[in-house]
Amino acid sequence: MSKVLDNLRYADSHEWVKVEGDIATVGITDYAQHALGSIVYVDMPEVGDEVTAGEEFGAVESVKAASDLISPVSGEVVEINEALEDEPELINKDAFENWIMKVRLSDAGEVDALLDAAAYAKLCEE
């Protein structure tokens, strides 16, 4: 059974978002890391890149699969998790602790459209 944290918002493409002020922290969910298996590479955007809700911002690769990362929010990338460059497997250890990027939100309203924990947990069960 995959872990779902209550205080986060979720996209149906299996990314999570935590909002603090106008900064959104984005990662992939425990369900997603589990489905991918041993992660060997995370293709991250660069600081300063503009990301758009619903559009690709990178990719995660495991030995046998690769999956695009879809941004749940729009805005400017202000930080990326550089630890993942050398240790992408951190996501397998704890997908919620090991975020991928931080975005300065251009439209905070987008977050409201995302799933809450209960709705996302239900999605994973299906």
Binding site: V40, Y41, E61, V63, P88
Partner: protein, 489 residues
């Protein structure tokens, strides 16, 4: 035997030589004419070894390989036939090996005639008007065929046809080829038996559809019985039908894709026409088309003049060019020899006997392995793992255990329609004795799965190397000797 694990670089000794070249008889010093800043300054770290070093090294490497000549390859969708030896010998003939691709046509008549004859033979076998032999591989043929499809619509001013329909059971190369050709992929659902769901197809067929890509028999080895209906629907909607020749073998000598309504197809010469797989290539992926599409085939084309002479032609209406020259000519020579050896009579037996072999294995093993789709298959079929799921032994475990018994593994985890897919294709060149041996071993593995499951899960146990650290390889890619040396320090 000792495990040989040296790299050619590790045999190197400064000053050792494996070659002899003539002395400079020209009295010129060309190198002096080249400015120093255009020359390489980095050291060149290549092996320095003797001829015998090279011969032993690569002979040792060959001993670490499994090939069709070593043993049976029940590899679904790959058609691993025996590769006749005479074909190898003929393809190396100096009369062809020395021909420059840009040599004047009158001095390359033999090569051009062979190319032309093979084009012609494939057209007859496939029921299509004309072939190009230029594509280098199956995937390259798909790309070329889809370019033909787009060129056809564009030539009619029909610019909105940008979608291609691909069954969800198709091999991943189909959608990838469509993407490269600039087409958008629309997925059509399959029925439980893997065939295209005609009801799901109908609403997809609008005036934005360029065509559909299909194999027949489909990925599960089942004949698409509604093919004529599908062809009619697609054509009525203004689309074209593309035939993925990966599964042509069971139809060879029995059914021609052109007669089923297909407009475009590629053939994998390295599957259906017995040219060797070469450890991954070179292959060859000729593309054939109906009469209405001939002008779009890529340049250069080989034609026969009224005087009986062969010549190289280009056509302004062609889709463009997709190869430097004429494709993998050496592979074509082998396929041509294969066709001539069987002749118009013998070739009729290819598909039927391949189908006989597949059905024989299927019927012999369905007591131990889960057959999700019962009924007559064609050249291949799919098991959904072992019947007894309680042992925890997976398809991967069975595949690896087969290696211990001297067989290659089947294609596994494809198609994606089942969790434990195991796709078996024996081809017509295997004898009943070989099939019986394989069937026995498959039964043995099923018994081991019940009795000593841990042993099966740890397989392979007897191969030269055992389970490999694939995660480590992907995480920190070490792709060269230099990187390997650096890591060791």
């Amino acid at each position: 035997m000792k495990y040989y694990d040296k790299l050619i670089f590790e045999l190197s000794r400064p000053g050792r030589k494996g070659y002899e070249l003539p002395a400079n008889a020209f009295g010129t010093d060309g190198a002096a004419e080249i400015p120093a800043d255009l020359k390489r300054t980095e050291p060149l770290d290549l092996p320095e070894v003797s001829e015998l070093d090279v011969v032993r090294h690569y002979t040792n490497l060959s001993n670490k390989n499994f090939g069709v000549d070593t043993g049976f390859y029940p590899l679904g969708s790959c058609t691993m036939k025996y590769n006749p030896k005479i074909n190898e010998e003929l393809s190396a003939m100096p009369e062809f090996a020395g021909v420059h691709p840009l040599q004047p046509a009158e001095t390359a008549q033999g090569a051009l005639e062979l190319y032309y004859n093979l084009q012609h033979a494939l057209s007859s076998l496939a029921g299509l008007e004309e072939f190009t032999l230029n594509p280098f591989a199956g995937a390259h043929g798909e790309l070329t065929g889809l370019m033909v499809m787009r060129s056809y619509h564009e030539s009619r001013g029909d610019h909105k046809r940008t979608k291609v329909i691909v069954p969800d059971s198709a091999h991943g190369t189909n959608p990838a080829s469509a993407m490269v050709a600039g087409l958008e992929v629309v997925t059509v659902k399959s029925r439980p038996n893997g065939s295209v769901d005609v009801e799901d197809l109908k609403p997809l067929l609008d005036d934005t559809v360029a065509g559909i890509m299909m194999t027949n028999p489909n990925t599960l080895g089942m004949f698409e019985t509604e093919i004529m209906e599908i062809a009619k629907l697609v054509h009525e909607a203004g689309g074209l039908l593309y035939y993925d020749g990966a599964n042509f073998n069971p139809l060879l000598g029995k059914v021609r894709p052109g007669d089923m309504g297909f407009d475009i197809m590629h053939i994998n010469l390295h599957k259906t026409f017995s040219t060797p797989h070469g450890g991954g290539g070179p292959g060859s992926g000729p593309v054939g088309v109906g009469k209405h599409l001939v002008q779009f085939l890529p340049n250069p084309r080989v034609r026969k003049g009224e005087d009986g002479k062969f010549f190289v032609d280009t056509d302004d209406r062609a889709l463009g060019t997709i190869s430097t020259f004429f494709g993998n000519f050496g592979v074509m020579m082998r396929a041509y020899a294969y066709i001539l050896t069987l002749g118009k009579e013998g070739i009729r037996q290819v598909g039927p006997l391949a189908t006989l072999n597949a059905n024989y294995i299927k019927e012999s093993l369905k007591d131990d392995y889960l057959l999700p789709i019962d009924g007559v298959c064609k050249h291949e079929f799919v098991f959904d793992g072992l019947k007894d799921k309680s042992t925890g032994v997976t398809t991967l475990n069975v595949a690896k255990r087969l290696l211990d018994y001297g067989f290659h593994a089947p294609t596994i985890y494809f198609p994606l329609l089942f969790h434990e897919s195991m796709m078996i294709e024996p081809t017509e060149t295997e004898s009943k004795e070989t099939l019986d041996e394989f069937i026995d071993v498959m039964h043995t593995v099923a018994r081991e799965a019940r009795e000593t499951p841990d042993e099966v899960k740890n397989a392979p146990l007897t191969t030269l190397v055992r389970k490999l650290d694939e995660t480590g390889a992907a995480k920190n890619p070490v792709l060269t000797y230099k990187a390997l040396k650096k890591n060791a320090q």
